[in-house]
Symmetry: C2
Subunit: 340 residues, 2 copies
Amino acid sequence: MLSERQLFILQVLIDDYIQHVEPVGSRTISKREDVHFSSATIRNELADLEDMGFLEKTHTSSGRVPSEKGYRFYVDHLLSPTILSTPDIFNIQALFNEKLAETERIFEQSAKILSELTNYTSIILGPEALETTLKHIQLIPLGGQQAVAIFVTSTGHVENRPVTLPSGIAPEEIETLVNILNEKLTGVPLAELHQKIREELHLVFRKHLNNHQQASLFIDDIFKWSNKDKIFFGGKTKMLYQPEFRDVEKVRILLDALEEKTVIEQLLSANNEGITVTIGQENQVEAVRNCSLIKASYSFHGKHIGTISLIGPTRMEYKRVIGLLDTISREFTNLFNTRY
Amino acid sequence: MLSERQLFILQVLIDDYIQHVEPVGSRTISKREDVHFSSATIRNELADLEDMGFLEKTHTSSGRVPSEKGYRFYVDHLLSPTILSTPDIFNIQALFNEKLAETERIFEQSAKILSELTNYTSIILGPEALETTLKHIQLIPLGGQQAVAIFVTSTGHVENRPVTLPSGIAPEEIETLVNILNEKLTGVPLAELHQKIREELHLVFRKHLNNHQQASLFIDDIFKWSNKDKIFFGGKTKMLYQPEFRDVEKVRILLDALEEKTVIEQLLSANNEGITVTIGQENQVEAVRNCSLIKASYSFHGKHIGTISLIGPTRMEYKRVIGLLDTISREFTNLFNTRY
DNA sequence: TGTTAGCACTCCAAAAGAGTGAGTGCTAAA
DNA sequence: TTTAGCACTCACTCTTTTGGAGTGCTAACA
């Protein structure tokens, strides 16, 4: 069990280290105004804290540096309920007051602002297909056999896909076909589209269309869209400003990893409610083991649909960052639920 | 005027430097099989080439390094007509055989492959509005006052924009309105849309619609889309593999610059036919003054509509890169002209 | 018993010094 | 005109030195 004083010293030390990125010595702590015991006393406490695994030394006679266990403790127990600073609040409000029309722009802007506010890289995962439903399908002929299929979802997202019209079907029939699609598929969650088509639509086609086999093939083609979840980055180069990434090699490994969609998915997938902090080695992905990742979930009709996150060095401004993410994710949830 | 031998030595030296990124000394050159004069002779020639400004020394007793003037000369006079290597050809063909449906995917893939083939960062500018014409407009209601306006262009690009329907216009009228839009605006180059609307449409509205003022306002809103040209990147982190960017500071400046749309536009704008090589200080943009930029233009109906480019250190594999860009840009031109 | 002053000790980091080798320019001979 | 030879330069690397920040331990003190 940690004594009051140990808690205090641990907190002060981590705060100091997060700010200055230099090992913190006993004297530095003792010189603070609110510290009323000598550096020798602090040295004793530091030694104890180190024995318990909360601190580390970079070499025998250096100051102390928080260990990952230390950060974990700090995040779990030492972080006072965070209140955003006025300029932060101001910035976020400005963002959501802009009433950006396109959903994509909102994500883009949020990612950008988030990274600019924090100087860390932000990653936002757009709405997942899970809860999103199809709202409308449209087929726009381009002349010849070419056309564009357009899908509008319940979250206001628009997806388009060029298709080749089947030669064996008359234009009127195609119209019928699209009407059927709209009738049958509106309101169906994107994830269930394929299933629905397979189970119900082929039968309906047989009833209403002459060339139902061609139609079925055509439909399969249309819906062969990659259900890619959109990833938005902000401040990919912010890493380069962090002293722990002064080594190009390290930056390279990290940035290369972030280019991989699979890595991003692995990092941000399956988020539970609220805010998750993953520190260093706790991370699944090798390349980000010297980083911390903070995720916040946003939801639509009570179900998680996407993730907002920040990635930075393990020495992160946890206090501020958590407050920021919390606020922004709430705003997102709010936005989706009121708008759609 | 340069002698045969000087030309030869200059070429050999630059080739060597591009490959090994180390100052090249007289002995290195003299040891080549096809060199039949001594290192002393070469030293004399090197001194002359340096006097002429084609070479530089990093310090008094170092080997020689090509100057920017040297590269310029190399690119302009020493580059044999480039023939692609078989694996390069193979890769490009594979890319264009894939018959990717979405135009966007083609750009994405090209950028990626280009950067992977060369280990430089590639930037592709999507088709500009200049030559592209509007092919179709569609308004998809989302329920309530919300709707999505969809624009399809002659190059197959689809743009969408959420809009709020004006309250004072009946649904049938909106249909009429869209019909008018399609009738009047199909085939109009994107760049001229605003002008066309201002000059012709408002009059037509007055004739056919009751609430023509509301309609006019609405139309202005719809077409208030940012005519953003799409920028596709490939291998943004490739810089980090180049020895000249071992310094994080340099990488940061460069990568930050590339995040700026204005910078990209400045770099890639107004490209003339064929291939342009811009070396170091020749660049307009401060941040890329230690890079070389190679641009190739692709066209539609004989007019330049976009740019494919690579950015890397001034020491670039010019020979190969130029060949690659040339081929790919031709393929692009080909693609657009046959497909649309 | 907890706290503190004092001191020897450790180890990093930056500076200073020494040796090495790749490369040059110049000169004189072929 | 070309080449061999030689003195010279300068970046690099490796070692040594020095300074300072920080520790752990001990003994004295409240």
